[in-house]
């Protein structure tokens, strides 16, 4: 099968054998995949990754001996492959299973290929109301929804989101859908317009209000974002850390300790609430799509995704 492959800082198109189908797994023909910043970081050498990347996808089940009723269904799939037996899995937190593998990230071949495999229990059927272009956003919308799961006390109120990249714009919309008054801070008027249409107050400001918000989400993807977010947070408020910045980030601990701010690391989320938000059209994702490429043009797609100002780049299996 055709697949993109990352090795030694390069992405290439290869012809690779299909993976053997393990017990309880389904084989899924790719329909559409999305390139995420994590994929760009894998290419750049983080995690010492080598293999097929890709964890945002929509596909069709084509082989599923364990549960043949899935065959032909259009699906998305949770990206963490958990053991199912440990304490974390018992708590429904397979995303933290210590022996998990992760689709296209940790020791499980990813979705930038003509087909991929996942355990049946990771699959969710895509509602008819959702196109492939929309469904492929389920994973990043789930990552945005994770904030709601981690902050169950969040009931409307003001929230600031720093960053107008792909994830920042989804987070802004998820918080709006949750009833928050969202102030989104970014550097690109055109990107901010996407959340402004949904009701967010937006600002290109270098002048960010100090100590104002009970919830601030840092989705800047930059090393400076955390300190900015802390400065905008009220005493006893919460700063959600959504920028997975590799390398060390400097922070003045007194700026966190004196106002007793909570810094909350936040990663993947459950797919079901994300699919519901997408299915109910509470989140506008089509405006985030910059361009789509056939899988065979994956190398060009990676270059495009890495260009400044580009939002989501998709890969289609055609």
């Amino acid at each position: 099968m055709k697949a993109l492959y990352i090795e030694s800082g390069e992405v290439s198109l290869r012809r690779l054998p299909r993976a053997k189908l393990r017990n309880g797994f389904a084989r899924i023909r790719l329909r559409m995949a999305g390139i995420c910043n994590t994929d760009l970081e894998l290419k750049a050498g983080y995690y010492g990754f080598r293999g097929i990347p890709g964890h945002e996808f929509a596909g069709t089940v084509e082989e599923c001996p364990a549960a043949p009723e899935w065959i032909g269904k259009r699906v998305v799939g949770e990206i963490n492959l958990a053991c199912g037996a440990c304490e974390w899995c018992a708590r429904g937190l397979g995303r933290h299973c210590p022996t998990r593998t992760v689709l296209g990230i940790v020791r499980h071949p990813g979705a930038f290929a003509e087909s991929l495999t996942l355990p049946v229990e990771n699959l969710l059927e895509i509602p008819e109301s959702l196109s492939d272009d929309e469904a492929v956003f389920t994973e990043p919308v789930a990552a945005a929804c994770e904030i709601l799961e981690q902050c169950p006390w969040l009931r409307g109120g003001e929230a600031a989101v720093l960053g107008d990249g792909k994830l920042g714009l989804l987070i802004g919309q998820v918080l709006l859908a949750h009833g928050c008054q969202v102030h989104q801070f970014g550097r690109h008027a055109a990107k901010l317009a996407i959340v402004k249409r949904r009701g967010a107050m937006v600002s290109l400001a270098a002048n960010r209000p100090k100590g104002r918000f009970d919830l601030v989400v840092d989705a800047t993807g930059s090393a400076e974002g955390l300190a900015s977010a802390v400065a905008m947070c009220r005493p006893r408020g919460t700063v959600v850390m959504k920028s997975t910045v590799h390398n060390r980030v400097g922070i003045d601990m007194a700026s966190v300790i004196v106002p007793e701010i909570t810094l909350l690391g936040s990663r993947c989320g459950r797919f079901q609430p994300a699919l519901e938000l997408l299915g109910n059209k509470r989140i506008d994702v089509l405006d985030l799509i910059h361009e789509s490429f056939p899988l065979a043009m994956g190398c060009t797609a990676f270059e495009r995704a890495a260009a400044r100002g580009v939002l989501k780049v998709l890969l289609r299996n055609s």
Copy 2:
């Protein structure tokens, strides 16, 4: 009156006029005061502090026109002088009042003097069961108790405390009194023995267990403590930041975000629960006292408090 005074990186003994007694304030004759790391930092020039330091004290009310029934009573006093009218004060969080002053720290003369002043509402009577030597620990014990207020979900279970300094040893004991199984990590067997006697497991280990604890308190006072604490924390666990380290601290954000760890800034606490713990002899503070000096020997006392391995140094008004 005699008072210690910090200016330009030096502490000196001075004879200063007593402050005018403001409406609603009490004048308190010092009985005993404690030197805290914050005092050493004020001397070193943090906050650009100039004035009388000192915020840990026990004293006797000698003047109190607003409420003469306090006269003659032995008291401790909350160190934040709040406006009493803002949203924070209404929530009982005067410790975060934006216009607050702070005894001996922010624009209010401190306790290292023959007398000090505080608003009557800041005062708490010292129970008879407590000596001055014990009562002077109310403020740092309250700072340790703040963790319980910020983590209301904490019900026993394992907790790690990093650091065997004054605050670390109080935090270990407060968590023990709360029913936690405390693992205290430090560098001095003699200091660790103080919490070991109370039931803590102690370790001089360089080998700290990774990813094991749901609650880890960083009370190392060092820039490296935070990263160590994060490494010892389980996924979805909480790291309490009790080390007010000035200067920037480096942290790998991925180490917080991937396991979705919560970093909780924690500062001052309410005095009442601290007085109760001390009054019930649930906390052993006398073993933390290294030496006491008369106020007139305050400069020597500051030197002693700054020496390696020294725990609490007290100043007595005699």
